[in-house]
Symmetry: C2
Subunit: 349 residues, 2 copies
């Protein structure tokens, strides 16, 4: 365990910088005196692109690759800005990092903390983890169009799924389940997406005997959304494809108090590249710079970062502080800074 | 307007026959003396396949094609039965009918009826329609696998989207919105699925000026799931791709009282082929034959059928009767037959 964390910070656009500031303050406090954190800030995102023309240079990638981990705020500009159309920044920056740094596990814990209001009238105990595949599926960018703009336009999207890619994330899902409540749910759409679905199902079936204590079940993605609102307590670990995971984790965030609380880790478990930790929410340009954003998701992402880097006690200090703050949140609105300061104070107690 | 409806009935598997029986009784009563309904029952589904080896013969298709409409129960056998794996019946029967009969509009109204409990604590007014594309997207079955069962397996799924296919369903969505509360929401994932997403977005933008009274907005599919649980009242008409529509409508069913109430129409608006009406729920083999299923979704599907065939008053008689029954439902459990009889009695009043 190194005594210095060499951290890359990408605050990004919109509310990204605001929430990242709070996450960094909490991070420093949580690791305490024994561990130093060396921060290198990278100016990247929609704003940076519009100013400089850079989305992500190869040299920047090389520099990022040398850090221990990346703390990521949020990227994305005005959704109506034509210069950014088609997810230019999301794909050129966020997805490029996930793919280049082989973040094949997109880990998204969902927990309804005591004191947090769910839009569900009786949510029950919500405490599960979505293990979303991060480097395959419909995210590979292998589609294409012909005859664009004509009445004969054809636009294809290709979902690519490999035995290599599915096996490693399924194995990670089983390991998570074994370390939690031993229930793994594969979510896919095997009755329609028969090629990919069959690969996922066979992979789960093949690996299951290696984890005899883990109970395995399967849900179609459509049915999974039903259970997320009628019986979220049924879930412990969900393992799923990149796109299904994207959809399910926004819904999971919503039922557990909003994506202002939802943290995520883009993880390379092999440690070949730095992993990257980010709130599930976006850059929310409409409320940027107004101290309105909830920094909790960014702060919890910092806890995932510490967990990943081998500082579980420091991670627990953060989640405990967040839980304490959430338990006491009333209806009064606090600024980003106030929420950050309250959690920081709880960490320091 | 013909005075005889030449109806094909596919009761199917599991709870399909039970709910279809109730829907037919209500259908006959709702049309009254002026319209005769000639029913032709087709034995199709998982059970029929396991007995006879037929999923759907070409001659059966030709006979089905000659009817005015199809009332469909539910198909699908025991999910663990290996002889039915990979959605054999769903694809060979249900999807084959949707594709062959060019059901390019999969119409799925969502309404939280007074008296019905939602899992959301404050759902607000839920009354929207999902116009799901029915003949393209990842449902086309154009994927494939190589090196199956080896560590080098690659499984691809291809989503095919055409200007022709997108335009006609988008136009239908606009027309629906114009006839309702004039709000159309395109749901897609334009920041990742850039080829298909761009086609959908450009098509909506191009057709919008033809419907100047309709307000248009856009949501990524992940964000749409959030709004479905935090502010479903924001929706009037959603137009979306086949797979996103599949996912969103199960969630929509769940927030509006369960898919036991969710009706759907697989519609060919050009009337080149018979349209097909079915509950969104499946065959639920676990409760089949026990009179436990709620026939309401099947009954509301019959109302959509009447609407489509030009009998709006008869359709309204059914929805009014359903609303009356739902408003008075207590906590006591009624059998499929009892619910059907209660709605039938309300139609006859
Ligand atoms: C911004 C977008 C590309 C991204 C995704 O689709 O993965 C986001 O929705 C997420 O979930 O992290
Ligand atoms: C059974 C299945 C193929 C079908 C679909 O995915 O369309 C069902 O989920 C539905 O929504 O009608």
């Amino acid at each position: 365990m190194s005594s210095t964390i060499d951290l890359a910070v990408i605050p990004g656009d919109g509310i990204g910088p605001e929430v990242t500031t709070e996450a960094l303050a909490v991070l420093h406090s949580a690791v305490g005196g024994g561990v130093a954190i060396a921060e290198t800030h990278y100016s990247l995102g929609a704003e940076h692109y519009l100013e400089t023309g850079e989305i992500l240079h190869d040299e920047t990638m090389e520099r990022l690759a040398r850090h221990d981990a990346i703390l990521f705020g949020a990227v994305g500009g005005d959704p109506r800005d034509a210069r950014l159309a088609g997810g230019l920044i999301e794909r050129g920056l966020l997805l490029r990092l996930r793919f280049a740094f082989d973040h094949y596990v997109n880990l998204r814990p969902t927990r309804l903390f005591p004191g947090v209001t769910s839009p569900l009238s009786s949510p029950g105990e919500v405490d599960f983890v979505v293990v979303r595949e991060g480097t395959e599926g419909p995210y590979v960018g292998n589609g294409g169009s012909i005859r664009v703009g004509t009445p004969h336009e054809i636009a294809n999207e290709v979902s690519v799924n490999t035995a290599f890619g599915v096996e490693r994330v399924v194995r990670f899902g089983f390991a998570q389940a074994a370390a939690r409540s031993c229930r793994l749910t594969l979510v896919h759409k095997t009755n329609v997406l028969v090629n990919a679905g069959s690969l996922w199902q066979r992979t789960v079936d093949r690996i299951a005997p290696e984890f005899p204590g883990v109970n395995v079940d399967y849900l179609h993605v459509d049915a999974a959304t039903i259970f997320l609102v009628t019986d979220p307590a049924r879930f412990d670990v969900i393992v799923t494809d990149n796109l299904f995971g994207d959809i399910l984790t926004d819904l999971a965030g919503a039922i557990s108090g909003g994506i202002g609380l939802a943290a995520s880790g883009n993880i390379n478990p092999d440690r070949a590249f730095p992993s990257m930790f980010e709130p599930v929410h976006g850059s929310a340009p409409d409320i940027a710079g107004q101290q309105k954003a909830d920094p909790t998701a960014a702060i919890l992402s910092a806890a995932l970062l510490l967990e990943h880097l081998g500082h579980p006690e420091a991670a627990t200090r953060i989640t405990t502080a967040v839980a304490a703050d959430l338990a006491g949140r009333g209806s009064e609105r606090r600024s980003t800074r106030e929420v950050g300061a309250a959690i920081l104070a709880a960490v320091e107690r």
